[in-house]
Amino acid sequence: MGGTKKFKRLIPRDAAERLLGMRRLTFIRNAGGPMSFSRSLLLFLFLAMGLTAPALAQSDPEALRPLINELAKGKYDDTQKQIGALVATGDPAVAPALEALGDGDLYFRKSDGMVFIASKAGKGYALTDPLTLESAGEAGRRDVKKIKVNNKLRRVLRSALGSLTLMAPDPAVRKQAAEAVFKSRDPDSIEALDAALAAETDDSVRTVMEQARAAAVLNSDLGDEDKLAAVEVLASMGTRQAMSLLLSVQSSLEGPVRDATAAAVTKIEKSIAAWDAAQNIWYGLSLGSVLLLAAIGLAITFGVMGVINMAHGEMVMIGAYVTFVVQEMIRTSMPGLFDYSLFIALPLAFLVSGAIGVAIERGVIRWLYGRPLETLLATWGISLILQQAVRSLFGPTNREVGNPDWMSGAFEVGQMTITYNRMWIIVFAMLVFAGLMLVLKKTPFGLYTRAVTQNRRMAASMGIRTPWVDALTFGLGSGIAGIAGVALSQIDNVSPNLGQGYIIDSFMVVVFGGVGNLWGTLVGAMTLGVVNKFLEPYAGAVLGKILVLVFIILFIQKRPRGLFALKGRAVEA
């Protein structure tokens, strides 16, 4: 419910209720449930308007009905006028209908043109009267038709809300309102902003309001003096948004204001350029951590065990599908857990991929030790089988894996935008790496693994069950790949081809870093990520990637055993 979400963020429930506490209106009580909050919001909107409106008409539902039913007619331009007419009545009773319109829940009945709020019920819709909010029976899927909204109408609603919530008690709401005004740059809201600024106590909100005011001033026909001050405010903002605004008004300005604008733009451009480099490093680290996640399981199965594991990508894919299954179950049975879905998926993905890894090792790979090239052949076959199995089981199309709320959205650091999912993936990659190092260096299992891979015969004669260590090590590598799949499902397709996209990059990373060295994998992944991201703006995505590959080829000439190679006699023993 995109629309609802957007409105929800603007004003939290308690604030609205506090505001509305004094006036108890019937429709709010009737509405009840989760919807009531956005209704209250709209009510607030109309109350605010009521302060200036000549009269707040008392609602007579039937008097409004013709206006509401008008919405069923005409095109978007007509709808816009009809909304204007409804707002002009100043009657809070139209709020639910408008809100439903924004959410795309407003329908009209084809037989008589009556407008209803509709929600899906079975094969048809449950209808609600938009004015009385009483149930109005049901309708078949074909009996009603949706009243459409488009981007333009959504914009109209957004900016209207912006200038009207500037006096809300919650500072966060006021801030968002000011940001909305900044985007709409509506000169008519200067007055409201001045009033709000006079009453404002929170400094951070005040700053935003001043910026919003500056934006509105530049768009108005106020004098040069006001505009010069506005340019200054925007220049000190230093953001891309400010620059965008300045550029857009530049052509309509004259004289000293125009010069000041130009100077401000240059200044902002400079500060942005510096931030761009930081942003590139961030992108590089983020790409690097994706590469690291994809490659780290391979660093074990291939790097440590020497199995040329072409089925590695499929382990990643299986992890992603585990996430899908977990989310699907959560969606159907306990939607409240959705935000925790990834935490539930992580151990499961590890177990499922790990178990498949152990099965592959026991069933196939253990017969092939000492013949690494034949593991290439067999695991290639296995990867074909796994791909097709997933295709047969889940279908060939993409499956939806959603981002939990804490993985969605972005925040700003200076002029850098940092998206939450990328940030968590970097953190996660580091945790996985640290965890793996810990397991290999500090646990008995890790000790056994190192012992077996270094000298199998000696380890066996010391009583280590080498077959089990092999199986578990392979399982560990596969399980880690599964965990990576959970993370990658957040940024990429979940389809049977998921693994194919990462397998080559993974091998490049492991080999570039130096086979058998986990630190090499870490440094390799990060280096390739950053190099790629620095090349991309100049060379373009395609050429950038080619250059990275050429770089790897040349680098291997210089260091034939990767970045972190062992030196000395042991290497060629």
Partner: protein
């Protein structure tokens, strides 16, 4: 000198192979062109083209077997040389279209016309002449292989490191050829060919001719490979495969040997690609896909590494299985193909030819040792370490 050089190539196995090939080269086109349709001996054009394609794959597999089976260089990038040869031929075929393209431009290929290329890029010059294109078919892959090999072998990049940078090579070329700015038709590649050397490319006789040409090329390259591998140079290659530094300490410049066989192999792959393109009617960057190169290695492994005939057999069998499965079991054929690879590795580790000839030798030796008195402790089997010795080269070092 040359005769003795070629004469060395012959033995019973080679004889059988050459006889079969000769029969195929004569009978298949004859069955297609001379035997009337409807007769049980008629070979449909579809089958001729299909088998022609298999033969080019077989030639590619042969090239891979030469470097991998005999010199221990596991190339996961041979499809790149194949595709380059294919592109060289494709460029010739494009130039032959002339005014018959949809825009009727006498010089520019169609894709250049609608992407507004003002004129033919310089690297397309000369490809209107067959001899030039034919030269490029071997020269371009050859030079690329030479340069790549010269750096890689001199720096002593070996084992998986070499394999992975060959993947990087083909992957980089894949991305490069996908770029429309390169002037090779981007993703669509080169297609809609009309004729080759003046013959209509769709005519049955041309197809039969291309089949025969593929067969002859395969025979020719097979004989070269035999001659090379059975010469002293071939012995040095195997020595390099089994104990590279020993060979070096004997005074052989290993990198020169590798470079020689690597370049030769790349040129053969180029020829294979050039014969492939007119038969399938298209060349596009998909041929550079890293997975393709891996598949070629699998053909060789299935047929039997280091046996030459095995590479040919593996390529034909796997591709035949693919053709069959994709039609007979379209929804689940990957299970069948994947299963085949797993089963072959587990139960026929030396590939089909390797296993058979091993069985044959073992049988003969058992008979022989029964004739003598059983005195030796060692069973007369073939060396247990021979394959693993080479595999060891590719084995990565364990963690510190």
């Amino acid at each position: 000198m040359m005769t003795s050089f070629l004469f060395r190539a012959m033995d019973a196995r080679a004889g059988i192979f050459l006889a079969i090939m000769a029969a195929a080269i004569v009978l298949v086109p004859a069955g297609n062109l001379l035997v009337p349709e409807g007769s049980p001996f008629h070979v449909p054009t579809y089958a001729v083209t299909l088998m022609g394609k298999y033969l080019t794959y077989a030639l590619l597999a042969l090239a891979v077997d030469l470097v991998w089976g005999f010199c221990g260089i596991l190339s996961l990038g041979h499809a790149a040389f194949f595709a380059l040869g294919g592109y060289a031929m494709g460029m010739y075929l494009m130039r032959q279209i002339g005014t018959r393209g949809v825009y009727g431009d006498p010089i520019l290929p169609d894709f250049m016309v609608f992407l507004n290329w003002p004129e033919l890029p310089w690297y397309w010059y000369g490809f209107d002449m067959f001899w030039f294109a034919a030269l490029m078919v071997v020269l371009v892959p050859g030079v690329l292989a030479f340069v790549f090999g010269w750096f890689a072998f001199r720096s002593r990049v070996t084992g998986v490191y070499l394999s992975i940078i060959t993947q990087a090579l083909t992957y980089a070329l894949l991305l490069a050829f996908f770029r429309n700015d390169m002037g090779f038709g981007g993703n669509n590649g080169l297609t809609d060919f009309k004729d080759i050397l003046g013959f209509d490319i769709q005519a049955d006789s041309t197809r039969a001719g291309l089949f025969a040409a593929s067969g002859i090329a395969l025979v020719f390259c097979y004989v070269i490979c035999r001659a090379v591998t059975r010469s002293k140079l071939g012995k040095v290659l195997v020595a390099v495969r089994d104990a590279e530094s020993r060979t070096r300490f004997l005074g052989y410049r290993v990198e020169h040997y590798k470079l020689f066989v690597w370049t030769l192999s790349a040129m053969m792959a180029g020829v294979a690609g050039a014969l492939y393109v007119p038969q399938v009617g298209i060349i596009n960057p998909g041929e550079f896909a890293p997975a393709n190169s891996i598949e070629v290695v699998i053909w060789v492994a299935v047929g039997g590494r280091g046996t030459l005939v095995g590479a040919v057999l593996g390529a034909v069998l796997v591709n035949f299985a693919k053709t069959w499965f994709t039609a007979a079991l379209p929804d689940i054929w990957l299970f069948a193909l994947g299963g085949l690879f797993v089963v072959v590795t587990l139960f026929l580790p030396k590939g089909i030819v390797g296993t058979f000839s091993q069985g044959w030798t073992a049988l003969r030796q058992r008979k022989a040792s029964a004739d003598y008195e059983a005195g030796s402790d060692e069973p007369p089997s073939s060396p247990p370490h021979a394959p693993s010795a080479t595999a060891r080269d590719a084995e990565p070092q364990p963690a510190e």
